[in-house]
Symmetry: C2
DNA sequence: CCTACCGATCGGTAGG
DNA sequence: CCTACCGATCGGTAGG
């Protein structure tokens, strides 16, 4: 019975976090009230605190869940032994899939991390910097091995990360454009450019 | 005398708007209070209302000033008669300069437009959609004229706009990397790719 | 430009 | 899970 109760608490907390991700994405963290969130869940605001510790804790859960998923994937890529262009293609496709599959969570992690309280803010920024440095290292090795053209690795990484992040705008538009076509065109653009 | 008073009011409002842009960028619009802004200016919160109508009005001023600057430049490019790659390069460089020269304002326009009240929100989104459609048209013509490779124009525009927007992250880091080198590398990456 | 203040709303708690 | 409520803070106004 205790097990079932724990299970129920877990799913309820997960449900709150999921609904919160959607709300925070639409209105922003600071502009979202716990009363609004409670309305969406279908309870009174005070009842939320049986499942979560604070509003801020919800944001922490979202941000660090996303960070962990990206870090886990990066480690797989680093150990794959593929060449630079293959690694970058793999990373780009993963970012695209994450943005499309976990839109609310990735969006919130990208936009609302500033509202994290310390020490979570510092921890989050450190993880992001480490992630970015790993990508820079991958590009840097590619330049040295002459597998890709000579470019400042930092600029290439910034361009790639920013471009895939921009898919948050696509999600809202739903053009008559298949996901696979979009993904392939963006990979092609970022790796091979526009010039014929 | 009336003229001088109007002039002083004008600059004071401009000073408030400028300081607000920095504050809104750092903390977000909803998390920034008028009392904080007043502290930065060096007056009491109530005194701000001699120069501005509301907190929301400040955000409107910032967002539409930025939108107007981009629209004005776009019209120049459209009437320039250059080929597609030249037009795109011009647009990319302008976005980069805007991001570096008017960092706070561009950042706030990019991140906080959601907090605009109607009808400003609808107006802003319409302007942005029109701007985006103009860029899509430029790429589309380039594909038809075979000046650039075959790609979904929407994806190319999304990739370019997202990449230049990502320069907001660069601003904070101040790598030992000259602006010109960064600009040239990003233009090169977006137009010619990474592949040798 | 300031003092004084308002009603609304916020995140969160007590107690059942 | 709810009712009832708290202190803090918010954007903004009145009046001088």
């Amino acid at each position: 019975m205790a097990k079932i109760k724990a299970f129920r608490n877990g799913t309820k907390k997960d449900a709150i976090t999921q609904k919160a991700a959607g709300l925070f994405r639409r209105k922003g963290f600071a502009s979202s009230s716990m009363r609004e969130l409670a309305d969406i869940i279908g309870v009174e605001a005070s009842s939320l605190y049986n499942h979560i510790g604070s509003k801020s804790e919800i944001l922490q859960t979202i941000c660090f869940k996303v960070a962990t998923e990206f870090n886990t994937h990066l480690q797989q890529v680093q150990g794959s032994g593929k060449d630079t262009l293959n690694k970058l293609e793999n990373l780009i496709r993963f970012h695209i899939h994450m943005m499309l599959d976990s839109y609310d969570e990735v969006f919130v992690a990208n936009h609302e991390w500033k509202q994290l309280p310390e020490p979570y803010l510092g921890n989050f920024l450190e993880q992001r910097k480490t992630y970015e440095n790993s990508l820079i290292e991958i590009v840097s090795i590619g330049v040295k091995k002459e597998e890709i053209k000579n470019i400042h690795p930092y600029v290439a990484v910034l361009t790639i990360l920013s471009a895939v992040r921009g898919l948050e705008f696509w999600h809202r538009q739903k053009k008559n454009l298949a996901v696979e076509a979009l993904e392939n065109d963006m990979v092609n653009h970022l790796l091979k450019g526009l010039t014929k």
